[in-house]
């Protein structure tokens, strides 16, 4: 009983629509938000580009009087920060958000409201940074913010706080997107699309998202610690008080190196879709490429020290990191040769995207080769921190990200607009960019070898860098003209492009099976996939899906439905009912922004008010999530019926919490790493005073932490039997309250946290436990409210399982933390190896 296609289209449109006017701010749809992410990041790219032009104008001639060091330092810091945090990462997120559901045969991502929240956080965080720039109080310690230059005594102004808080705000947005993308890839696909059948782009994004989940926490931790040091004088990085500036560098690059791959991999994923289309054959070495990119992800977490070759690390360690860094050439080579082989075994044809693929090959390979050079320790000692590195990093980032993204732009823009491009100026634009780029950066390697350090605001003729810089600046302006032409080209294509029916490139992936411009529900009905999903007969499928011949070809209960799969078998196991558009994400992000701003201006009472607002809004959001009734198996078409996600074992929220805890665990490990690092390496240990071990207090706290997980199990059993849970919830809350009280008391026992890093890290470990116990209480409050409202029932126990998982985590990390706090005083006695 399929309804008429037109009727289906009308119904789905009504259900999935985002309203006009003010309602637009309530959008949660992946197509809209993916585009918003991309457009916003393009705006930030333009701002970063203007800054780079100011840099080039300043350096064009010696003795330039255009800008002085105070402003110059802000400009290059903001250029780097904007390009890395506000352009590259959000751009790739936007592309993934826009494309993934369409490629995987889903109607949206798993947590539409989270997408919206992530977008607003990004927009607000980025705006804080840019406004600071306009007001002349932008960060000015370089994009990696080395301490102690960025610490209070040497950066007394608000500048560094802007970086720490603004970037952390954006990072938290990136983290939510990473969790969402991971879960969506693992759960929301078309039936039959096993992991081994996913288009390779989804693999790239999966690996990237997991890398973000474990890569960002070290930086988030480091930023929090540094902000705490700046605001409350707790010494984590201050060498005079047992801290160590090198700890900052380790934590930063533990994030920073993987970051480069986080930026590169999605771009490579796009290439792995684009190249096969123009080679007119599927990707060669699909499995080899997956292995290569997983290897790359692992390697990238083990070689961060190559950014620190000149800090005075023992030579043996340097040899290890040097060899490891060179090894990255292997998985990179595998991918590059897989692409070459794809072209070799296909019938390659030229089009604008292929021009950028050529640009990629040229520029990225050059950047990779200089990367191998920089991995050689002794050469690094000369080239480090010179314009050689500036050239190298732009070859890698522009070659490995900007060129592929431009290829992607020309490749997928028709998907967005429903129009094809009218070549002419596209080709000119490409050559301007390609020539301009190389004219800017090719000989900048030499500038660096002639000894020009990075981050200097001018130079003299006697230094011998005059001509090289002048040519670079001219190249920079040609490059900019190229980008301006691309912008014009896009506008023209949106206005004048030729309309097309379906699949203009004769691609084989599902994003071309939908109507263009894409309707908000993407697929009128969801396809069944029986082979690798990068060589599908897209045109025929598109027709049959539009006719409602796939799954979920109905409008039921006004629900936004998509299918959830068993992760490995690819069989549908749940109907995922997604949330409708709402302003709550916007309000929550505004409240979060209030918190960030009040921390920035040190109005701490307001930060607490903001925090309360965030919590209230989140609890409120929870009150409108899920279903209040049991539905049992629901028909999804083709004679199959599966239950809604509220009634199954492994729904998306469960996986989201698991991924969140992976991120959280990485942060905890980083904290412990920091504690041990300072104990082993930092100067001015042991501390003058340590904490008296208090076994009774420790036992009380431990009991308070361990009781709730046990109680949570009782609550689950009670709920399964249809009995009330409030008694259990109350008992768990009591345990947490005891733990929190005990922990706060313990923190007050820590001797003078501002005096020594020992005390500061001890307090941090205890505060970590307080935070988690506190969030545990919120879980319990939410459980109470939602149980009352009928969301929690014998067959719908998900909330309670989430709570159990959180309490388990809290107990485990809390007990580990308590153990550390107990043994640390003894460990400090056996240090004493320091000068």
């Amino acid at each position: 009983m399929t309804p008429s296609p037109l009727r289906l289209h009308k119904d789905l449109s009504r259900i999935w629509a985002t309203g006009p006017g003010f309602q637009r701010l309530a959008a949660v749809n992946h197509t809209i938000l993916g585009l918003r992410f991309m457009v916003t990041s393009a705006v930030f790219f333009a701002i970063g580009g203007v800054l780079s032009m100011m840099i080039r104008a300043q350096l064009a001639t010696p003795h330039s009087a255009f800008i002085g060091p105070e402003i110059y330092n802000q400009i290059f810091t903001m250029h780097g920060t904007i390009m890395m945090f506000l352009f590259a990462i959000p751009m790739l997120e936007g592309l993934a958000i826009y494309l993934l559901p369409k490629m995987l045969g889903a109607r949206d991502l798993a947590f539409p409201r989270m997408t919206a929240y992530g977008y607003w956080c990004y927009l607000f965080g980025g705006s804080i940074l840019v406004i600071a720039l306009i007001l002349g109080v932008a960060p000015d310690s370089g994009w990696f913010m080395y301490t102690p230059l960025s610490s209070k005594p040497y950066s007394p102004g608000i500048n560094a706080d802007v970086w720490l808080l603004g970037v952390t705000f954006v990072e938290i947005s990136a983290l939510t997107m990473a969790v969402e993308l991971t879960v969506s890839i693992l759960k929301l696909r078309a039936p039959g699309m096993t992991l081994a059948r996913m288009p390779i782009f989804a693999w790239y994004i999966l690996v990237t998202a997991v890398m973000m989940v474990v890569g960002f926490p070290p930086l988030i931790l480091a930023s929090i610690l540094l902000e705490v040091e700046r605001a409350f004088d707790l010494p984590f990085f201050d060498a005079t008080r047992g801290g160590d500036p090198l700890l900052w560098q380790h934590l930063f690059w533990l994030f920073g190196h993987p970051e480069v791959y986080i930026i590169f991999l999605p771009a490579a994923g796009a290439l792995s879709i684009i190249i096969p289309t123009f080679a007119q054959r599927p990707l060669v070495g699909y499995r080899a490429v997956i292995v290569a990119l997983v290897a790359m992800a692992f390697l990238s977490f083990g070689i961060w020290v190559h950014h620190m070759f000149t800090v005075g690390i023992p030579h043996m360690a340097l040899a290890f990191f040097s060899a490891g860094s060179a090894l990255v050439a292997v998985p990179t080579g595998v991918q590059i040769f897989a692409w070459l082989a794809t072209l070799a075994h296909g019938r390659p044809r030229w089009d604008v995207p292929m021009l950028y693929v050529f640009g990629f090959f040229f520029v990225f390979v050059a950047g990779g080769l200089t990367g191998v050079m920089l991995a050689m320790v002794s050469f690094n000692w000369q080239a480090h921190d010179t314009h050689f590195v500036v050239a190298h990093l732009h070859y890698v980032l522009v070659g490995g990200f900007v060129f592929p993204m431009l290829a992607a732009l020309y490749y997928w823009l028709p998907n967005v607009t429903g129009r094809q491009s009218v070549h002419r100026i596209s080709v000119t634009a490409f050559w301007l960019i390609f020539i301009g780029f190389n004219l800017t950066f090719w000989h900048m390697h030499l500038t660096g070898l002639l000894g020009m350090p990075r981050r200097i605001y001018t130079y003299t003729e006697a230094d011998g860098w005059t001509w090289l810089n002048l040519v670079s600046s001219m190249g920079g302006f040609i490059l900019t003209m190229g980008f301006a032409l691309v912008a014009m080209d896009i506008l023209l294509q949106m206005r004048l492009g030729r309309r097309f029916r379906r699949d203009p490139w004769r691609a084989g992936t599902l994003e071309w099976a939908i109507a263009t411009p894409p309707p908000p529900y993407a697929f009128a009905s969801i396809p069944e996939v029986t082979e690798r999903a990068d060589r599908l007969p897209v045109r025929e499928m598109g027709r049959s899906l539009a006719a409602g011949e796939g799954y979920l070809a109905h409008a039921r209960n006004g629900w936004q439905e998509t299918l959830g799969l068993h992760t490995t078998t690819g069989r549908p196991d749940q109907v995922v009912v997604l949330s409708r558009s709402t302003h709550l994400p916007l309000y929550t992000a505004i409240a979060t922004c209030v918190v960030v701003l009040s921390l920035l201006f040190k109005v701490y009472w307001l930060a607490l008010v903001g925090l309360a607002a965030v919590i209230t809004l989140m609890l409120w959001t929870a009150q409108i999530s899920g279903l209040r009734k049991d539905y049992g198996p629901l028909p999804i078409g083709h004679g199959i019926a599966v239950p809604p996600h509220t009634e199954v074992e492994g729904p998306p929220p469960w996986w989201a919490l698991v991924m969140t805890l992976v991120a959280d665990g990485t942060l905890f490990l980083s904290l412990i790493y920091g504690m041990f690092y300072l104990w082993l390496v930092a100067a001015n240990w042991p501390p003058a005073a340590v904490m008296e071990p208090n076994l009774i207090l420790t036992a009380v706290i431990a009991a308070g932490l361990v009781l709730p997980p046990l109680v949570a199990r009782g609550a689950l059993r009670a709920n399964a039997k249809g009995r009330g849970i409030l008694l259990w919830v109350g008992l768990a809350a009591l345990g947490l309250a005891v733990a929190i009280a005990g922990l706060v008391f313990a923190i007050m026992q820590v001797p003078a946290p501002t005096r020594h890093a020992y005390s500061a890290t001890t307090a941090a470990v205890l505060a970590y436990a307080v935070f988690h116990a506190g969030v545990g209480v919120l879980f319990l409050i939410s459980n109470t409210l939602r149980w009352r409202a009928g969301f929690i029932a014998p067959r719908r126990g998900l909330d309670l399982r989430l709570t159990r998982l959180w309490l388990d985590y809290t107990a485990v990390t809390g007990v580990i933390g308590l153990g550390l706090v107990l043994v640390m005083p003894y460990l400090t006695e056996i240090s004493g190896v320091q000068p």
Partner: protein, 231 residues
């Protein structure tokens, strides 16, 4: 042809000129690194030409290119090529790097460098802790530079003599340098350290060993002078 080559060579050599040039080495460390660079440059250009040639090959003549099986592309390109290039390169670099380390030796002079926002002081323990703001070194003798900082991170760098090393609060880093010729060499701070990062330049005067005491202001009557030197 020959003339063009000559002109090219002149341009190239002139292009490597400059007070901060790492390509005009005047000491064993800088020379070893410059050699490594030229070697790597040659290798990199060959590899780059190879990849671009392959790209042209597959785009223009896919028929011929498809004679190489897909698996072979990946194995030879992704595994074979790195296996051929990387071990010798890493080996070379490690051996060369090892030689640059401050191994203990009889004939090693010591200078203590303290950096600060924004400048340098150089102390000579051998000469009773004299302090100067120009670095004086003996020619032909290995010197261990002990690098520290009074405030933020800086980096000590004399490009013509060798690589740079950071000055990090709470740490002492030791850099081994040696100058092969007397003369004046330019040095600078290489780690961004604030608004005075650019002016943090210094001069290095390399003297014949017998001239060094005089350069440090130590005359025959050095003993009475030493008393008013602050330790």
């Amino acid at each position: 042809m020959g003339r063009w080559l000559a002109v090219g060579a002149v341009v190239l050599v002139a292009g490597c000129d400059g007070p901060f040039s790492t390509l005009e080495p005047r000491g064993p460390a800088a020379s070893s690194i410059a050699n490594l660079w030229w070697g790597m440059l040659a290798g990199a250009l060959i590899l780059m030409a190879l990849v671009l040639a392959l790209f042209a090959f597959v785009m223009l003549a896919p028929k011929q290119a498809s004679r190489i099986a897909p698996r072979h592309w990946i194995i030879w390109g992704g595994l074979g090529l790195p296996a051929l290039v990387l071990p010798p390169l890493v080996g070379w670099s490690l051996v060369a790097g090892e030689r640059l380390l401050p191994h203990p030796g009889a004939d090693v002079a010591v200078v203590e460098v303290e950096s600060f926002q924004f400048g340098w002081t150089f102390r000579y323990p051998e000469y009773g802790g004299i302090e100067r703001d120009i670095l004086h070194l003996p020619v032909g003798q290995p010197v261990d530079i002990h690098i520290t900082t009074r405030d933020v991170i800086h980096a000590f760098w004399i490009p013509q003599l060798g690589g740079k090393l950071d000055a990090i609060p709470g740490h002492v880093n030791v850099l081994r340098l040696q100058a092969d010729e007397t003369g004046v060499y330019a040095g600078q701070c290489a780690e961004f350290c604030g608004t005075g990062h650019l002016p943090m330049r210094f001069e290095t005067h390399v003297h014949a060993p017998e001239d060094l005491p005089a350069a440090l202001g130590i005359t025959a009557a050095a003993d009475d002078q030493e008393e008013d030197q602050q330790p």
